[in-house]
Symmetry: C2
Subunit: 273 residues, 2 copies
């Protein structure tokens, strides 16, 4: 059996700098697929690109328009390469809308990592319970992507009533893993950077139209960190920062159970109210 | 007299999607110009582009190679435009190195802002002194860009001795403005997102090679916020997050004196040790 995430990452090489893919039903969200799966495509492609230097260290994705069901084309090319670093550019287009420009585009960077002095100044919250002590949110969501993850939120769950109530902060903390469990790789790490529901819902229980417009993730994990994480739960924490005139930003961190930061990530989100 | 920042922003239109500029001596850093001025060029250009929809809300800059003295070419084009949002791509090339690809490239987004519910969850630190109560750092720096700003750091100054001493955190807090004072615009805001010296120096007093490889800024300010800020000081605070295997990330916020967030920003920085 192919894991759903691997199914979603099934890109076919289609000539120089080009891959072909299919928007998967298995990660469908309200409008188009889960943004994390979209972010994962260029990362999955770069991992298969034989020109690649090192491993992913950063990525920015612009969500410029909604992806339609069906086929898409992913352009991925190195813009500038040095001995130990490489900067890439990517764009996702679909035939019916290609005259309007890419629906998704952005940049990523790969780099050869070398041992250096290190400091981890973003510790996992000391009072975080172990994943086994947190009740699983049992849901059969109409949004398929939600069912692809096992959720153990222990702070800042989605509002249970949309009554406009405000909370003093927008923090969510959770343990999460793929369903079924799957050893983490750079593509699934890129996807999991987008696991946090829009902070405007955490801060104020009112349903309003939202959409991520740009997401930037820094991958602090190297291949050894991913191997040490395996298919275990990762802990995530997310907060909103500034909500103003139609846009807000949220920032998050992912740790493995040993407290090792795997990624830090931030996104700018459109909202209407 | 032209203000040095306006001098640095003097871009000449040079055909479709293209601007010509000159690397200014006035903002020279250790290797090439101050990264903030580099980030400001595409923002300055987009503000002069008659196709623009709205004002800048986000930007990502990849610093892929060092900019050489002399002329450069800036490509800036809209990738995707809707009624109220626009996603742009840019690249800076220089003739002598153009075969290697752009030295700088990235993306930005502009958007028409509309009034909405708002929340400001990133308050200015309550114990921040007013700028007039903070001693100015008098320096005649060999790095010209440093002399283009008036610095009033009140926490986390650059180490005065490079003795390898470690601090428990990497926080810097400061008031800053252009020299001479200049009313803030989106270009100077983009530049000021890069005012914070590399956190590896704040955390450990050891001179090591460093260089920002990617910076992402979210501009929460609209034109009214910039007008209200004027040429006054802005307060900035910056911390480092994870320092590991040759890269670290740092995150910062800029407020005006009224405590209004103007921008949040983060960057990934290469270091060697």
């Amino acid at each position: 059996m192919t894991h759903p995430f691997d199914g979603a990452m099934a890109l076919q090489p289609a000539g120089a700098n080009t891959w072909q893919g299919l928007v998967p039903d298995s990660y469908q969200n309200m409008v188009g697929p889960f943004g994390g799966v979209i972010a994962a495509w260029p990362v999955a492609a770069v991992m298969r690109d034989e020109r690649r230097v090192g491993t992913p260290v950063s990525q920015t994705v612009h969500y410029a328009a909604a992806l339609q069901p069906g086929a898409f084309s992913l352009m991925l090319m190195p813009e500038r390469t040095s001995r130990s670093t490489q900067h890439w550019r990517f764009a996702i287009t679909q035939e019916a809308t290609s005259a309007d420009g890419p629906t998704i585009f952005g940049s990523l960077m790969t780099a050869a990592r070398r041992d250096t002095w290190s400091a981890e100044d973003l510790p996992m919250p000391a009072d975080a319970p172990p994943p086994e002590a947190v009740a699983q949110q049992h849901r059969n969501s109409p949004f398929e992507w939600f069912n692809r993850y096992e959720w153990r939120m222990f702070e800042g769950l989605m509002p249970s009533a949309w009554d406009g109530a405000q909370r003093g902060d927008s923090r969510t903390a959770l343990w999460v893993r793929d369903v079924p469990p799957r050893p983490m790789d750079f593509a699934s790490l890129a996807a999991q950077c987008d696991l946090f529901y829009p902070r405007v819902f955490a801060r104020r229980a009112e349903r309003v139209p939202v959409g991520t417009v740009s997401m930037t993730s820094y991958f602090h994990a190297d291949e050894a960190d991913l191997a040490a994480t395996g298919a275990d739960y990762v802990m995530g924490q997310c907060i909103g920062q500034v909500f103003r005139r139609g846009y807000f930003d949220q920032t998050a961190c992912l740790w493995n159970r040993a407290g090792r930061v795997l990624a830090t990530t931030q996104q700018l989100v459109y909202f209407k109210s």
